[in-house]
Amino acid sequence: MHIPDNYLSPQTCAVMGAAMIPVWAVAVKKIKAEVPKEMIPLLGIGAAVSFLLMMFNVPLPGGTTGHAVGGTLLAILLGPWAACISVTVALLIQALMFGDGGILSFGANCFNMAFVLPFVGYYIYKFIKDSVKTDKGEYIGMIAGSYIGINVAAFCAAIEFGIQPLLFKSATGQPLYCPYPLSVTIPAMTIPHLLVAGVVEVLFTVAVFSFVKKVSPGTIYEGAKEKTKAIYGLIIGLICLTPLGLLAAGTAWGEWGTDEIQDVVSGGSALGFVPAGMQNGFSFEALMPDYSVSGLPEAAGYILSAIAGAAILIILFKVIGYLKKDKGESALE
Protein backbone atom coordinates (compact mmCIF):
# COMPACT_ATOMS: atom_id res chain seq x y z
CA MET A 1 0.00 0.00 0.00
CA HIS A 2 3.06 2.25 -0.18
CA ILE A 3 2.12 4.95 -2.68
CA PRO A 4 5.16 5.99 -4.75
CA ASP A 5 5.73 9.53 -5.97
CA ASN A 6 4.08 10.79 -9.16
CA TYR A 7 0.89 8.80 -8.66
CA LEU A 8 -0.56 11.62 -6.60
CA SER A 9 -0.33 15.31 -7.45
CA PRO A 10 1.92 17.43 -5.24
CA GLN A 11 -1.21 19.34 -4.22
CA THR A 12 -2.89 16.19 -2.92
CA CYS A 13 0.35 15.31 -1.12
CA ALA A 14 0.43 18.75 0.47
CA VAL A 15 -3.14 18.41 1.73
CA MET A 16 -2.48 14.94 3.14
CA GLY A 17 0.73 16.09 4.80
CA ALA A 18 -1.08 19.08 6.29
CA ALA A 19 -3.78 16.75 7.61
CA MET A 20 -1.14 14.69 9.39
CA ILE A 21 0.52 17.60 11.22
CA PRO A 22 -2.18 18.02 13.91
CA VAL A 23 -2.36 14.23 14.26
CA TRP A 24 1.37 14.01 14.93
CA ALA A 25 1.23 16.94 17.33
CA VAL A 26 -1.60 15.39 19.35
CA ALA A 27 0.12 12.00 19.30
CA VAL A 28 3.35 13.38 20.74
CA LYS A 29 1.38 15.28 23.38
CA LYS A 30 -0.58 12.16 24.38
CA ILE A 31 2.50 9.96 24.57
CA LYS A 32 4.36 12.58 26.59
CA ALA A 33 1.48 12.64 29.07
CA GLU A 34 1.30 8.85 29.32
CA VAL A 35 4.98 7.97 29.44
CA PRO A 36 6.91 11.20 29.86
CA LYS A 37 10.35 9.73 30.37
CA GLU A 38 10.32 6.51 28.44
CA MET A 39 9.00 8.24 25.35
CA ILE A 40 12.19 8.37 23.30
CA PRO A 41 13.22 4.70 23.63
CA LEU A 42 9.59 3.60 23.28
CA LEU A 43 9.13 5.46 20.01
CA GLY A 44 12.53 4.64 18.54
CA ILE A 45 12.37 0.96 19.32
CA GLY A 46 8.63 0.80 18.58
CA ALA A 47 9.37 2.17 15.11
CA ALA A 48 12.09 -0.46 14.63
CA VAL A 49 9.60 -3.18 15.55
CA SER A 50 7.01 -1.69 13.21
CA PHE A 51 9.55 -1.67 10.40
CA LEU A 52 10.57 -5.27 11.04
CA LEU A 53 6.99 -6.55 11.35
CA MET A 54 6.43 -5.37 7.77
CA MET A 55 9.37 -7.59 6.70
CA PHE A 56 7.78 -10.87 7.75
CA ASN A 57 6.33 -13.09 5.08
CA VAL A 58 3.09 -14.46 6.43
CA PRO A 59 2.07 -17.90 5.12
CA LEU A 60 -1.32 -17.97 3.43
CA PRO A 61 -3.53 -20.99 2.91
CA GLY A 62 -2.35 -22.59 -0.32
CA GLY A 63 1.34 -22.00 0.18
CA THR A 64 1.73 -18.41 -0.95
CA THR A 65 2.82 -15.62 1.36
CA GLY A 66 2.00 -11.97 1.96
CA HIS A 67 3.23 -9.01 3.99
CA ALA A 68 1.30 -7.52 6.88
CA VAL A 69 1.38 -3.84 7.88
CA GLY A 70 0.75 -4.64 11.55
CA GLY A 71 -0.90 -1.28 12.24
CA THR A 72 -3.75 -2.64 14.34
CA LEU A 73 -1.40 -5.03 16.14
CA LEU A 74 0.90 -2.18 17.16
CA ALA A 75 -2.08 -0.05 18.20
CA ILE A 76 -3.29 -2.82 20.51
CA LEU A 77 0.19 -3.50 21.90
CA LEU A 78 1.51 0.06 22.20
CA GLY A 79 -1.63 2.17 22.15
CA PRO A 80 -2.94 3.93 19.03
CA TRP A 81 -0.97 7.15 19.49
CA ALA A 82 2.37 5.44 19.94
CA ALA A 83 1.51 3.17 17.02
CA CYS A 84 0.82 6.24 14.89
CA ILE A 85 4.26 7.71 15.54
CA SER A 86 6.02 4.33 15.29
CA VAL A 87 4.53 3.56 11.89
CA THR A 88 5.27 7.13 10.77
CA VAL A 89 8.95 6.77 11.61
CA ALA A 90 9.09 3.34 9.98
CA LEU A 91 7.51 4.76 6.82
CA LEU A 92 9.94 7.69 6.82
CA ILE A 93 12.93 5.36 6.95
CA GLN A 94 11.44 3.22 4.21
CA ALA A 95 10.89 6.27 2.00
CA LEU A 96 14.14 8.07 2.72
CA MET A 97 16.60 5.21 3.06
CA PHE A 98 15.07 2.32 1.15
CA GLY A 99 13.21 4.26 -1.54
CA ASP A 100 10.05 2.37 -0.66
CA GLY A 101 7.08 4.73 -0.86
CA GLY A 102 7.41 8.27 -2.11
CA ILE A 103 8.89 11.35 -0.45
CA LEU A 104 6.10 13.70 -1.49
CA SER A 105 3.46 11.04 -0.92
CA PHE A 106 4.86 10.42 2.56
CA GLY A 107 1.98 12.40 4.11
CA ALA A 108 -0.60 10.35 2.21
CA ASN A 109 1.08 7.09 3.16
CA CYS A 110 1.14 8.18 6.80
CA PHE A 111 -2.48 9.18 6.61
CA ASN A 112 -3.49 5.74 5.35
CA MET A 113 -1.15 3.48 7.27
CA ALA A 114 -0.06 5.41 10.36
CA PHE A 115 -3.35 7.11 11.10
CA VAL A 116 -6.46 5.56 9.54
CA LEU A 117 -5.30 1.97 9.89
CA PRO A 118 -4.24 1.90 13.56
CA PHE A 119 -7.07 4.13 14.79
CA VAL A 120 -9.90 2.45 12.93
CA GLY A 121 -8.48 -0.98 13.85
CA TYR A 122 -7.91 -0.09 17.48
CA TYR A 123 -11.29 1.48 18.16
CA ILE A 124 -13.22 -1.31 16.48
CA TYR A 125 -11.22 -3.77 18.59
CA LYS A 126 -11.89 -1.73 21.71
CA PHE A 127 -15.58 -1.29 20.98
CA ILE A 128 -16.22 -5.01 20.47
CA LYS A 129 -14.00 -6.01 23.37
CA ASP A 130 -15.76 -3.66 25.75
CA SER A 131 -19.22 -4.75 24.68
CA VAL A 132 -18.60 -8.52 24.64
CA LYS A 133 -16.25 -8.67 27.64
CA THR A 134 -14.97 -12.22 27.16
CA ASP A 135 -11.73 -13.59 25.74
CA LYS A 136 -13.70 -14.46 22.66
CA GLY A 137 -14.86 -10.89 22.40
CA GLU A 138 -11.29 -9.71 22.53
CA TYR A 139 -10.29 -11.94 19.63
CA ILE A 140 -13.38 -11.12 17.61
CA GLY A 141 -12.58 -7.47 18.16
CA MET A 142 -9.03 -8.05 17.02
CA ILE A 143 -10.08 -9.92 13.90
CA ALA A 144 -12.69 -7.32 12.99
CA GLY A 145 -10.37 -4.42 13.85
CA SER A 146 -7.37 -5.58 11.87
CA TYR A 147 -9.48 -6.65 8.89
CA ILE A 148 -11.56 -3.49 8.70
CA GLY A 149 -8.58 -1.30 9.57
CA ILE A 150 -6.47 -2.33 6.62
CA ASN A 151 -9.44 -2.27 4.27
CA VAL A 152 -10.46 1.24 5.26
CA ALA A 153 -6.84 2.28 4.76
CA ALA A 154 -6.83 0.72 1.29
CA PHE A 155 -10.11 2.46 0.54
CA CYS A 156 -8.56 5.80 1.49
CA ALA A 157 -5.65 5.11 -0.85
CA ALA A 158 -8.14 4.25 -3.58
CA ILE A 159 -9.91 7.58 -3.11
CA GLU A 160 -6.61 9.46 -3.19
CA PHE A 161 -5.75 7.74 -6.47
CA GLY A 162 -9.22 8.04 -7.92
CA ILE A 163 -9.63 11.79 -7.50
CA GLN A 164 -6.42 12.55 -9.42
CA PRO A 165 -7.86 12.43 -12.96
CA LEU A 166 -10.75 14.65 -11.88
CA LEU A 167 -8.55 17.29 -10.36
CA PHE A 168 -5.37 17.37 -12.35
CA LYS A 169 -5.24 17.46 -16.10
CA SER A 170 -3.01 19.07 -18.62
CA ALA A 171 -4.33 21.67 -21.01
CA THR A 172 -5.10 18.96 -23.53
CA GLY A 173 -7.15 17.02 -20.98
CA GLN A 174 -4.50 14.38 -20.35
CA PRO A 175 -4.36 13.26 -16.72
CA LEU A 176 -1.04 14.18 -15.11
CA TYR A 177 -0.94 11.66 -12.29
CA CYS A 178 -2.89 8.49 -11.61
CA PRO A 179 -5.17 8.39 -14.68
CA TYR A 180 -7.80 6.06 -13.28
CA PRO A 181 -11.10 7.32 -11.89
CA LEU A 182 -12.72 6.15 -8.66
CA SER A 183 -14.70 3.53 -10.55
CA VAL A 184 -11.39 1.80 -11.34
CA THR A 185 -9.24 2.57 -8.30
CA ILE A 186 -11.76 1.54 -5.68
CA PRO A 187 -12.23 -2.04 -6.91
CA ALA A 188 -8.53 -2.28 -7.87
CA MET A 189 -7.43 -1.38 -4.34
CA THR A 190 -10.17 -2.89 -2.21
CA ILE A 191 -10.66 -6.30 -3.84
CA PRO A 192 -7.10 -7.56 -3.22
CA HIS A 193 -7.24 -6.14 0.30
CA LEU A 194 -10.59 -7.71 1.07
CA LEU A 195 -9.45 -11.07 -0.28
CA VAL A 196 -5.75 -11.30 0.59
CA ALA A 197 -4.10 -8.45 2.50
CA GLY A 198 -6.93 -8.30 5.04
CA VAL A 199 -6.54 -12.01 5.74
CA VAL A 200 -2.76 -11.67 6.14
CA GLU A 201 -3.27 -8.78 8.55
CA VAL A 202 -5.78 -10.76 10.64
CA LEU A 203 -3.62 -13.90 10.80
CA PHE A 204 -0.52 -11.95 11.77
CA THR A 205 -2.28 -9.77 14.34
CA VAL A 206 -3.97 -12.68 16.11
CA ALA A 207 -0.83 -14.86 16.03
CA VAL A 208 1.54 -12.28 17.49
CA PHE A 209 -0.95 -10.89 20.00
CA SER A 210 -1.84 -14.29 21.44
CA PHE A 211 1.85 -15.08 21.98
CA VAL A 212 2.53 -11.77 23.71
CA LYS A 213 -0.58 -12.14 25.85
CA LYS A 214 0.43 -15.62 26.94
CA VAL A 215 4.10 -14.94 27.58
CA SER A 216 4.24 -11.35 28.74
CA PRO A 217 0.81 -9.81 29.29
CA GLY A 218 2.38 -6.96 31.26
CA THR A 219 3.89 -5.44 28.14
CA ILE A 220 0.53 -4.76 26.49
CA TYR A 221 -0.75 -1.19 26.37
CA GLU A 222 -2.59 -0.32 29.58
CA GLY A 223 -5.33 1.67 27.94
CA ALA A 224 -6.54 -1.47 26.23
CA LYS A 225 -7.45 -3.00 29.57
CA GLU A 226 -9.55 -0.24 31.02
CA LYS A 227 -12.85 0.63 29.53
CA THR A 228 -13.01 3.88 27.65
CA LYS A 229 -15.73 5.14 25.45
CA ALA A 230 -14.43 3.51 22.34
CA ILE A 231 -17.36 4.63 20.28
CA TYR A 232 -16.26 8.24 20.67
CA GLY A 233 -12.84 7.25 19.45
CA LEU A 234 -14.44 5.68 16.43
CA ILE A 235 -16.39 8.84 15.74
CA ILE A 236 -13.26 10.95 16.16
CA GLY A 237 -11.54 8.60 13.73
CA LEU A 238 -14.29 9.08 11.20
CA ILE A 239 -14.19 12.83 11.63
CA CYS A 240 -10.49 12.68 10.98
CA LEU A 241 -11.27 11.11 7.64
CA THR A 242 -12.70 14.43 6.55
CA PRO A 243 -9.50 15.64 4.91
CA LEU A 244 -10.59 13.31 2.12
CA GLY A 245 -13.76 15.32 1.81
CA LEU A 246 -11.66 18.44 1.97
CA LEU A 247 -9.64 17.11 -0.92
CA ALA A 248 -12.68 16.51 -3.02
CA ALA A 249 -13.89 19.99 -2.16
CA GLY A 250 -10.51 21.59 -2.66
CA THR A 251 -11.07 22.35 -6.27
CA ALA A 252 -9.15 25.56 -5.98
CA TRP A 253 -6.04 23.45 -6.18
CA GLY A 254 -6.80 22.02 -9.54
CA GLU A 255 -8.18 23.16 -12.81
CA TRP A 256 -11.59 21.70 -12.33
CA GLY A 257 -14.44 23.42 -14.12
CA THR A 258 -18.02 23.31 -12.92
CA ASP A 259 -19.12 21.56 -16.06
CA GLU A 260 -16.79 18.73 -15.25
CA ILE A 261 -18.25 18.37 -11.78
CA GLN A 262 -21.66 18.08 -13.30
CA ASP A 263 -20.31 15.51 -15.62
CA VAL A 264 -19.16 13.48 -12.65
CA VAL A 265 -22.34 13.91 -10.69
CA SER A 266 -24.72 13.16 -13.48
CA GLY A 267 -22.93 10.97 -15.88
CA GLY A 268 -22.14 7.92 -13.73
CA SER A 269 -19.77 6.10 -16.01
CA ALA A 270 -18.50 9.11 -17.89
CA LEU A 271 -15.94 10.04 -15.28
CA GLY A 272 -13.94 12.23 -17.57
CA PHE A 273 -12.61 9.90 -20.21
CA VAL A 274 -14.04 9.30 -23.58
CA PRO A 275 -12.25 6.29 -24.94
CA ALA A 276 -10.97 8.28 -27.87
CA GLY A 277 -7.83 6.23 -28.17
CA MET A 278 -9.87 3.14 -28.75
CA GLN A 279 -11.87 4.75 -31.52
CA ASN A 280 -8.77 5.89 -33.31
CA GLY A 281 -7.10 2.56 -32.94
CA PHE A 282 -3.90 2.04 -31.05
CA SER A 283 -0.67 2.84 -32.80
CA PHE A 284 2.84 3.47 -31.67
CA GLU A 285 2.70 7.02 -32.90
CA ALA A 286 -0.11 7.60 -30.47
CA LEU A 287 2.28 6.71 -27.70
CA MET A 288 4.58 9.57 -28.67
CA PRO A 289 2.16 12.28 -29.57
CA ASP A 290 3.64 15.62 -28.74
CA TYR A 291 7.09 15.19 -27.38
CA SER A 292 8.71 17.25 -30.04
CA VAL A 293 6.59 20.25 -29.14
CA SER A 294 8.43 21.98 -26.36
CA GLY A 295 10.84 23.61 -28.76
CA LEU A 296 13.96 21.65 -28.04
CA PRO A 297 16.39 22.34 -30.89
CA GLU A 298 17.29 19.28 -32.87
CA ALA A 299 20.99 19.66 -32.06
CA ALA A 300 20.34 19.76 -28.35
CA GLY A 301 18.30 16.61 -28.73
CA TYR A 302 21.23 14.90 -30.39
CA ILE A 303 23.62 16.00 -27.66
CA LEU A 304 21.23 14.80 -25.01
CA SER A 305 20.90 11.37 -26.57
CA ALA A 306 24.67 11.19 -27.08
CA ILE A 307 25.26 11.85 -23.38
CA ALA A 308 22.63 9.32 -22.45
CA GLY A 309 24.11 6.78 -24.83
CA ALA A 310 27.63 7.18 -23.43
CA ALA A 311 26.42 6.94 -19.85
CA ILE A 312 24.32 3.87 -20.62
CA LEU A 313 27.33 2.20 -22.25
CA ILE A 314 29.49 2.85 -19.17
CA ILE A 315 26.74 1.42 -16.97
CA LEU A 316 26.42 -1.63 -19.21
CA PHE A 317 30.13 -2.40 -19.02
CA LYS A 318 30.21 -1.95 -15.28
CA VAL A 319 27.13 -4.13 -14.80
CA ILE A 320 28.48 -6.90 -17.04
CA GLY A 321 31.78 -6.84 -15.17
CA TYR A 322 29.97 -6.94 -11.86
CA LEU A 323 27.68 -9.80 -12.81
CA LYS A 324 30.62 -11.87 -14.07
CA LYS A 325 32.41 -11.40 -10.78
CA ASP A 326 29.25 -12.07 -8.85
CA LYS A 327 28.44 -15.39 -10.50
CA GLY A 328 30.36 -17.55 -8.07
CA GLU A 329 28.81 -16.07 -4.99
CA SER A 330 26.56 -18.11 -2.80
CA ALA A 331 22.89 -17.97 -3.66
CA LEU A 332 21.70 -18.10 -0.08
CA GLU A 333 23.52 -15.02 1.05
Binding site: V215, S216, G328, S330, A331, L332, E333
Partner: protein, 261 residues
Protein backbone atom coordinates in the same frame (compact mmCIF):
# COMPACT_ATOMS: atom_id res chain seq x y z
CA UNK B 1 31.72 -37.67 7.87
CA UNK B 2 32.49 -34.00 7.33
CA UNK B 3 34.98 -32.98 4.67
CA UNK B 4 35.85 -29.39 3.96
CA UNK B 5 38.26 -28.68 1.12
CA UNK B 6 39.76 -25.28 0.24
CA UNK B 7 36.61 -23.52 1.42
CA UNK B 8 36.40 -19.73 1.41
CA UNK B 9 33.46 -17.53 2.29
CA UNK B 10 32.93 -13.79 2.51
CA UNK B 11 30.06 -11.56 3.68
CA UNK B 12 29.55 -8.95 0.97
CA UNK B 13 33.25 -8.61 0.30
CA UNK B 14 34.49 -9.12 3.86
CA UNK B 15 36.46 -12.33 4.24
CA UNK B 16 35.22 -14.70 6.95
CA UNK B 17 36.71 -18.06 5.93
CA UNK B 18 39.95 -18.33 4.04
CA UNK B 19 40.95 -21.58 2.38
CA UNK B 20 39.78 -23.92 5.12
CA UNK B 21 40.69 -27.60 5.02
CA UNK B 22 39.20 -29.88 7.59
CA UNK B 23 37.90 -33.38 7.99
CA UNK B 24 35.92 -34.72 10.94
CA UNK B 25 35.23 -38.41 11.46
CA UNK B 26 32.06 -40.02 12.77
CA UNK B 27 32.04 -40.05 16.58
CA UNK B 28 34.78 -37.45 17.02
CA UNK B 29 34.65 -34.51 19.41
CA UNK B 30 36.34 -31.42 18.04
CA UNK B 31 36.85 -28.04 19.67
CA UNK B 32 37.07 -24.87 17.56
CA UNK B 33 39.10 -22.10 19.07
CA UNK B 34 40.15 -18.65 17.99
CA UNK B 35 39.85 -14.96 18.79
CA UNK B 36 36.57 -13.11 18.31
CA UNK B 37 35.74 -12.66 14.63
CA UNK B 38 38.24 -15.26 13.44
CA UNK B 39 35.60 -17.29 11.59
CA UNK B 40 34.43 -19.93 14.04
CA UNK B 41 30.76 -19.04 13.89
CA UNK B 42 30.85 -18.74 10.10
CA UNK B 43 32.29 -22.25 9.84
CA UNK B 44 29.54 -23.56 12.11
CA UNK B 45 26.92 -21.88 9.91
CA UNK B 46 28.51 -23.45 6.85
CA UNK B 47 28.48 -26.92 8.42
CA UNK B 48 24.79 -26.46 9.22
CA UNK B 49 23.90 -25.43 5.70
CA UNK B 50 22.84 -21.87 6.61
CA UNK B 51 25.45 -20.59 4.19
CA UNK B 52 27.30 -22.36 1.40
CA UNK B 53 30.93 -21.95 0.33
CA UNK B 54 31.91 -19.24 -2.20
CA UNK B 55 34.80 -21.45 -3.25
CA UNK B 56 35.81 -24.99 -2.33
CA UNK B 57 33.86 -28.10 -1.46
CA UNK B 58 31.88 -29.06 1.63
CA UNK B 59 30.83 -32.70 1.87
CA UNK B 60 28.62 -34.27 4.50
CA UNK B 61 28.36 -38.07 4.46
CA UNK B 62 30.04 -37.98 1.03
CA UNK B 63 27.34 -35.71 -0.40
CA UNK B 64 28.40 -32.32 -1.62
CA UNK B 65 26.46 -29.47 0.00
CA UNK B 66 26.03 -26.57 -2.42
CA UNK B 67 23.74 -23.55 -2.63
CA UNK B 68 21.77 -25.38 -5.30
CA UNK B 69 21.25 -28.49 -3.20
CA UNK B 70 20.22 -26.40 -0.19
CA UNK B 71 17.49 -24.76 -2.24
CA UNK B 72 15.79 -28.14 -2.47
CA UNK B 73 13.66 -28.17 0.72
CA UNK B 74 13.69 -31.97 1.05
CA UNK B 75 17.48 -32.09 0.81
CA UNK B 76 17.87 -29.21 3.28
CA UNK B 77 15.48 -30.75 5.78
CA UNK B 78 17.29 -34.07 5.69
CA UNK B 79 20.56 -32.27 6.39
CA UNK B 80 19.01 -30.23 9.20
CA UNK B 81 17.75 -33.41 10.86
CA UNK B 82 21.22 -34.96 10.74
CA UNK B 83 23.08 -31.92 12.07
CA UNK B 84 21.78 -30.17 15.16
CA UNK B 85 22.84 -26.59 15.92
CA UNK B 86 22.78 -25.04 19.40
CA UNK B 87 23.02 -21.27 18.97
CA UNK B 88 25.24 -19.02 21.02
CA UNK B 89 22.28 -16.94 22.16
CA UNK B 90 19.58 -19.30 23.43
CA UNK B 91 17.06 -16.44 23.41
CA UNK B 92 17.02 -16.52 19.64
CA UNK B 93 16.53 -20.26 19.49
CA UNK B 94 13.34 -20.52 21.53
CA UNK B 95 10.13 -19.39 19.85
CA UNK B 96 7.37 -21.44 21.47
CA UNK B 97 5.15 -20.38 24.34
CA UNK B 98 5.88 -23.43 26.51
CA UNK B 99 8.90 -25.67 27.12
CA UNK B 100 7.11 -28.88 26.19
CA UNK B 101 5.96 -27.47 22.84
CA UNK B 102 9.42 -26.06 22.23
CA UNK B 103 11.03 -29.50 22.49
CA UNK B 104 8.16 -31.22 20.68
CA UNK B 105 8.35 -28.75 17.75
CA UNK B 106 10.87 -30.80 15.73
CA UNK B 107 9.67 -34.38 16.26
CA UNK B 108 6.04 -33.36 15.63
CA UNK B 109 7.09 -32.55 12.07
CA UNK B 110 8.74 -35.90 11.49
CA UNK B 111 5.53 -37.85 11.14
CA UNK B 112 5.99 -39.92 14.28
CA UNK B 113 3.03 -40.64 16.54
CA UNK B 114 2.17 -38.17 19.30
CA UNK B 115 2.86 -40.83 21.97
CA UNK B 116 6.37 -41.36 20.55
CA UNK B 117 6.82 -37.60 20.51
CA UNK B 118 5.82 -37.50 24.16
CA UNK B 119 8.28 -40.28 24.93
CA UNK B 120 11.11 -38.43 23.23
CA UNK B 121 10.30 -35.10 24.84
CA UNK B 122 10.11 -36.65 28.30
CA UNK B 123 13.43 -38.46 27.74
CA UNK B 124 15.04 -35.17 26.78
CA UNK B 125 13.52 -33.36 29.75
CA UNK B 126 15.01 -36.04 32.00
CA UNK B 127 18.39 -36.08 30.28
CA UNK B 128 18.80 -32.37 30.73
CA UNK B 129 17.23 -32.38 34.15
CA UNK B 130 14.53 -29.84 33.29
CA UNK B 131 11.38 -31.85 34.05
CA UNK B 132 10.20 -29.13 36.43
CA UNK B 133 10.03 -26.51 33.68
CA UNK B 134 7.90 -28.63 31.40
CA UNK B 135 5.07 -26.10 31.30
CA UNK B 136 6.98 -22.91 31.92
CA UNK B 137 7.46 -20.28 29.21
CA UNK B 138 10.97 -20.48 27.76
CA UNK B 139 11.13 -16.69 27.57
CA UNK B 140 11.13 -16.31 31.34
CA UNK B 141 13.70 -19.01 32.23
CA UNK B 142 17.20 -18.23 33.46
CA UNK B 143 20.15 -18.28 31.07
CA UNK B 144 21.25 -21.77 32.09
CA UNK B 145 17.75 -23.16 31.88
CA UNK B 146 17.27 -21.65 28.45
CA UNK B 147 20.51 -23.24 27.24
CA UNK B 148 19.29 -26.63 28.46
CA UNK B 149 15.92 -26.22 26.73
CA UNK B 150 17.69 -25.20 23.52
CA UNK B 151 19.94 -28.28 23.68
CA UNK B 152 16.91 -30.50 24.39
CA UNK B 153 15.00 -29.00 21.45
CA UNK B 154 17.86 -29.93 19.11
CA UNK B 155 18.77 -33.28 20.66
CA UNK B 156 15.18 -34.50 20.39
CA UNK B 157 15.63 -34.70 16.61
CA UNK B 158 18.33 -37.33 17.22
CA UNK B 159 20.97 -35.69 15.03
CA UNK B 160 24.18 -37.49 14.11
CA UNK B 161 26.25 -34.37 14.61
CA UNK B 162 25.71 -31.81 17.34
CA UNK B 163 27.19 -28.37 16.67
CA UNK B 164 27.41 -26.01 19.64
CA UNK B 165 28.40 -22.35 19.35
CA UNK B 166 30.10 -21.33 22.62
CA UNK B 167 27.80 -23.42 24.80
CA UNK B 168 29.57 -22.41 28.04
CA UNK B 169 28.98 -18.70 27.48
CA UNK B 170 27.04 -17.01 30.24
CA UNK B 171 26.66 -20.13 32.37
CA UNK B 172 27.63 -20.31 36.03
CA UNK B 173 30.61 -22.60 36.87
CA UNK B 174 28.38 -25.37 38.21
CA UNK B 175 26.23 -25.46 35.08
CA UNK B 176 29.35 -25.29 32.91
CA UNK B 177 30.72 -28.36 34.69
CA UNK B 178 27.40 -30.15 34.32
CA UNK B 179 27.28 -29.34 30.61
CA UNK B 180 30.83 -30.59 29.99
CA UNK B 181 29.97 -33.92 31.57
CA UNK B 182 26.76 -34.11 29.61
CA UNK B 183 28.51 -33.44 26.31
CA UNK B 184 31.20 -36.01 27.04
CA UNK B 185 28.48 -38.55 27.73
CA UNK B 186 26.75 -37.69 24.46
CA UNK B 187 30.02 -38.17 22.62
CA UNK B 188 30.52 -41.54 24.28
CA UNK B 189 27.04 -42.49 23.14
CA UNK B 190 28.26 -41.99 19.59
CA UNK B 191 27.31 -38.42 18.74
CA UNK B 192 29.81 -36.38 16.77
CA UNK B 193 30.43 -33.06 18.52
CA UNK B 194 31.72 -29.81 17.09
CA UNK B 195 32.07 -27.17 19.78
CA UNK B 196 33.39 -23.65 19.52
CA UNK B 197 34.62 -22.34 22.83
CA UNK B 198 36.75 -19.71 24.55
CA UNK B 199 37.06 -21.72 27.72
CA UNK B 200 40.68 -22.86 27.82
CA UNK B 201 40.01 -24.48 31.18
CA UNK B 202 37.29 -26.79 29.94
CA UNK B 203 38.44 -27.51 26.43
CA UNK B 204 40.79 -30.40 27.31
CA UNK B 205 37.90 -32.20 28.96
CA UNK B 206 35.59 -31.69 26.00
CA UNK B 207 37.76 -32.94 23.23
CA UNK B 208 41.16 -34.37 22.48
CA UNK B 209 41.39 -32.51 19.18
CA UNK B 210 41.48 -28.75 18.85
CA UNK B 211 41.30 -26.59 15.75
CA UNK B 212 42.70 -23.11 16.11
CA UNK B 213 41.65 -20.23 13.87
CA UNK B 214 44.07 -17.46 13.06
CA UNK B 215 43.03 -13.85 12.72
CA UNK B 216 43.44 -14.13 8.96
CA UNK B 217 40.47 -16.57 8.93
CA UNK B 218 42.62 -19.60 8.16
CA UNK B 219 43.25 -22.65 10.31
CA UNK B 220 46.41 -21.95 12.28
CA UNK B 221 46.63 -25.35 13.96
CA UNK B 222 44.85 -28.67 14.08
CA UNK B 223 46.40 -30.80 16.83
CA UNK B 224 45.79 -32.60 20.11
CA UNK B 225 44.22 -30.20 22.61
CA UNK B 226 46.87 -30.67 25.33
CA UNK B 227 49.63 -29.92 22.87
CA UNK B 228 47.89 -26.80 21.61
CA UNK B 229 47.38 -25.43 25.10
CA UNK B 230 51.10 -25.89 25.80
CA UNK B 231 52.08 -23.93 22.72
CA UNK B 232 51.73 -20.53 24.34
CA UNK B 233 53.58 -18.77 21.53
CA UNK B 234 51.05 -20.00 19.01
CA UNK B 235 48.10 -18.95 21.18
CA UNK B 236 49.64 -15.51 21.55
CA UNK B 237 50.27 -15.25 17.84
CA UNK B 238 46.58 -15.68 17.02
CA UNK B 239 45.72 -13.16 19.77
CA UNK B 240 43.75 -15.67 21.80
CA UNK B 241 45.77 -15.00 24.98
CA UNK B 242 48.06 -12.28 26.25
CA UNK B 243 51.48 -12.46 27.86
CA UNK B 244 50.03 -13.19 31.31
CA UNK B 245 48.68 -16.52 30.17
CA UNK B 246 50.41 -19.64 31.46
CA UNK B 247 49.45 -23.14 30.52
CA UNK B 248 48.64 -25.87 32.98
CA UNK B 249 46.98 -28.36 30.76
CA UNK B 250 47.76 -31.90 31.79
CA UNK B 251 49.20 -30.76 35.12
CA UNK B 252 47.20 -31.97 38.05
CA UNK B 253 46.14 -28.76 39.74
CA UNK B 254 42.89 -26.86 39.71
CA UNK B 255 42.32 -23.18 39.14
CA UNK B 256 39.35 -21.02 39.88
CA UNK B 257 40.44 -18.10 37.79
CA UNK B 258 39.73 -17.91 34.12
CA UNK B 259 42.29 -16.48 31.74
CA UNK B 260 39.98 -16.37 28.84
CA UNK B 261 38.52 -12.97 29.69
Amino acid sequence: MIEIKDVSFSYSGVNALNNINLSIEDGEAVALMGANGSGKSTLLKLINGIISPDRGVYKFNNEEITAKELKDPIFAKRLHQKIGFVFQNSDTQLFCADVYDEIAFGPRQMGISESDVEQRVNDCLNLLNIQDFKHRQPYHLSGGEKRKVAIASVLVLNPEVLVLDEPMNGLDPRTQRWLVEFLVKLNQAGKTLIISTHSLELVPELSSRAILFGENHTIAADMPTEKLLDDVDLLKRVNLVDEYYHSHAGKDHKHFHDHSF
